[in-house]
Symmetry: C2
Subunit: 339 residues, 2 copies
C-alpha cells in the first residue's frame, strides 16, 4: 500500500549494522523520495498537480503558506471517499447479514416493518423507513455486545465477504489513489483522520490495516456505550449519541480533534459542512470532492439516488475553489484489491 | 517544564552543520539521558522506582512485558491529579466569575435558586443543588459562545487570576512531579492523554502550554455543540452530551482513543472505573493514585468532603497492585509555579 516506503523500509537490513540507520535512511530517502512519484495511481496533471502544489506550499518553511506539522491535519470522509459505497453502505450490508442470522435464532427481535423487510431481504421495504429505518437496522444488529467482539466480527466480515458486483472482498474495495494520498500526506508530516457518517467501531475494525490510520484518528457516528465492570469491557448499548454527518461532521471534529484541519476530502453533500468549516480557516486550506464519474470501472452517480448524493458540492465547488476529482479522468486505477 | 529535553534541543545549533543532526542527537542523548534523573521532583525511592521499573519493562525490546510505542498509551485525570482542585474545581470558580459578570448585565439569567446563590457568592446555597446544580452554573456561564472565544477567555482567566490561598495564578498550580512524569513518558515513546470530568474545552485552553498535551489528546465532559455555517465556527449550546467521570471515563476513552491504555493515573473514586479498565488488560499495566497527604504544602483530604473523595481507591489500591503516591513523602516539590 505504500510503494515508496517499501524500498527504504526493507533496505537497511542488507547493510552492515555499523552505519547508523538514520544516516542510511537519509541516504536512501533523499534521491528516492524526491524523484519518485508519490501518487502513482493519479494521472500526472490536473488534480495531482493541485494536491502537490498545496502540500509543497504548507511544508516549505520558506513559503508564506507554511504550516507547522502539528497543524497539518487532514480529514477524510470514508464511504465513497476512501472506499466504495454502492449498492449500499458496506456497514448496512453487514448489518443486514447480522440481522438475518440473529432473526433466525430469535424472530421476536423483528419488532417493526422495517426490521421485518430487512431480515427478508426486501431492500425497498427497508429503504421506505428512511434514515431512521436504516439506523434501526444497524441498531438492532450491532447492540448488546462488547466493542471488542463487534470489531472482530466486522473485520472478519469485511475480509471474507464478496461484494455483489465486483466480487472482491469488501475490504479490498478501498481506493488505491486515496491510499497513496494518505501515505503521501503522512510522509509530509500530516496527521490523517477519518470523519465518517458510518459507525466509528465498524471503521476502526479495519482502519489501521486498510488506511494506516490508528483507532484514535477515526471519528464516526456513535451509539451509546457503557462500561461493564464485571467483564472489564465496553458494551454497545444501541441508540445514537452522535450522527457524524452533515453539520455533525464539524461537531465530531471539534469533539475529537479540537482544532480546525487544513485539508478535507469528501464525495457527497454529507461532507459539505466539513469542507465549508475546513476551508474557512485563516491560513491555507484544501477542499477536495471525489466525483463518481466512472461507471465502467466503479459506479457513476452524483445528483440522484439514495447514497452519496452530490448537488450543492457540484454547484459550488468551482466558486469555492474546491478541487473536484474526476475518478474516470484523474485515476489510473480504482481499487486497492483490483487491477 | 522539560528539564532533560532542553539541553539536547538547544545544543545542535552550536555544532557545525556537516555532522548529521541525528548522529549528534544520539551522541548527546546516550550519556545524558541515561544518567540524568528523569523525575527530579520525585524522591529517589518508592513511587519513583516503581514507575521507572514499569517504564523500563514496557520499553525494553528484550523484556517479556515489551509494548510497541503505538500501544504505550497513558491516561491522566486532571483535577487533583495534574493540578489542584481545592477549594473547588478551577472550572467552577471560573464559571462563578463569568456568571457574576453576566448576571450584572442581565439578572434575568438567574432562573433558579442555585444560580441566584452562585451569583451572590453563596457557596453553600450553590452546593445544596448537588452535581446537578453545579452543572447548571457551568452551563449558564459557558453556553451561547463560540468554542474559540470560550477557550481564549478560559486561558486568560487561568493565567491572570490568583488562587485564594496560594496566591499563584491558577495555571501555575500544576504539579511539577506530574509534569515531569508526562515528559518522561513521552520521551519513552508514550502518548499522554487527559481523561477528565472537567469540560474538554476548559482543559484544552491550557493543555498544550501547561502539559505539552495537544487538543486531540484531551478527553473531558462535553456540552452540546452546533456548527454555525454563517460564522464558520463551533458554538457551545449548553447541556451535557458526555459526563466523563466514573464509568463515563472508560466510555470517553473508547470514544476518543479506541484501545485500552496501559497506564492510568487519578486521585479520586471518580477515577476508579478508569483504573479498573486500564489495569484489566492482558499485558502489563500500571494504575496510579495521587494521595493528597500534604496539608502544609498543598491540601490534605481523602475520605470526606465534596471534592476528590477517595474511599474505594484507598481500600483497594494495595490489593489491586495500584501505586499510591504519597504527595508529602514522594514529592520534593508541589506546584510548577511554586518553589
Amino acid at each position: 500500500m505504500r510503494p515508496n516506503a517499501s524500498v527504504s523500509a526493507q533496505t537497511p537490513a542488507l547493510i552492515p549494522a555499523l552505519i547508523p540507520a538514520c544516516v542510511l535512511a537519509a541516504a536512501f530517502a533523499l534521491p528516492g523520495a524526491a524523484s519518485a512519484d508519490p501518487l502513482p495511481s493519479w494521472r500526472d496533471d490536473g488534480a495531482q498537480a493541485r494536491i502537490e502544489a498545496f502540500v509543497e506550499a504548507v511544508t516549505d518553511p520558506a513559503s508564506e503558506d507554511y504550516v507547522t506539522p502539528a497543524r497539518r491535519i487532514a480529514v477524510f470522509d470514508n464511504d465513497g471517499t476512501l472506499w466504495s459505497e454502492q449498492p449500499a453502505y458496506f456497514q448496512l450490508l453487514f448489518a443486514l447479514d447480522v440481522l438475518k442470522t440473529k432473526a433466525e435464532a430469535d424472530p421476536s427481535i423483528l419488532t417493526s416493518d422495517v426490521l421485518k423487510a430487512a431480515a427478508a431481504g426486501d431492500m425497498e421495504g427497508m429503504m421506505a423507513g428512511g434514515v431512521k429505518g436504516l439506523l434501526e437496522v444497524v441498531d438492532v444488529s450491532h447492540a448488546g455486545m462488547s466493542v471488542e467482539a463487534f470489531q472482530a466480527d466486522a473485520a472478519a466480515w469485511l475480509a471474507e465477504t464478496a461484494h455483489p458486483t465486483s466480487d472482491l472482498p469488501y475490504a479490498a474495495m478501498t481506493y488505491q489513489p486515496m491510499i497513496e494520498l494518505l501515505s503521501y500526506l503522512r510522509d509530509e508530516g500530516f496527521s490523517t483522520w477519518i470523519v465518517s457518517g458510518g459507525g466509528v467501531h465498524f471503521i476502526r475494525a479495519v482502519a489501521q490495516d486498510a488506511y494506516g490510520i490508528p483507532p484514535w484518528q477515526v471519528i464516526g457516528s456513535r451509539g451509546n456505550l457503557s462500561y461493564d465492570a464485571e467483564g472489564k469491557a465496553l458494551m454497545k448499548d444501541g441508540g445514537v449519541s452522535l450522527v457524524d454527518d452533515k453539520e455533525g461532521k464539524p461537531v465530531g471534529i471539534d469533539q475529537q480533534i479540537g482544532v480546525r484541519p487544513i485539508l478535507a476530502a469528501g464525495n457527497s453533500d454529507g461532507d459539505f459542512a466539513m469542507l465549508d468549516y475546513v476551508t474557512a480557516g485563516d491560513g491555507p486550506s484544501l477542499g477536495l470532492l471525489v466525483h463518481h464519474t466512472d461507471g465502467a470501472r466503479e459506479f457513476a452517480y452524483d445528483r440522484e439516488g439514495h447514497i452519496g448524493v452530490l448537488n450543492q458540492g457540484l454547484d459550488e465547488a468551482e466558486g469555492r475553489g474546491w478541487l473536484l476529482v474526476d475518478m474516470k479522468a484523474d485515476w489510473t486505477r480504482i481499487w486497492t484489491g483490483g487491477e
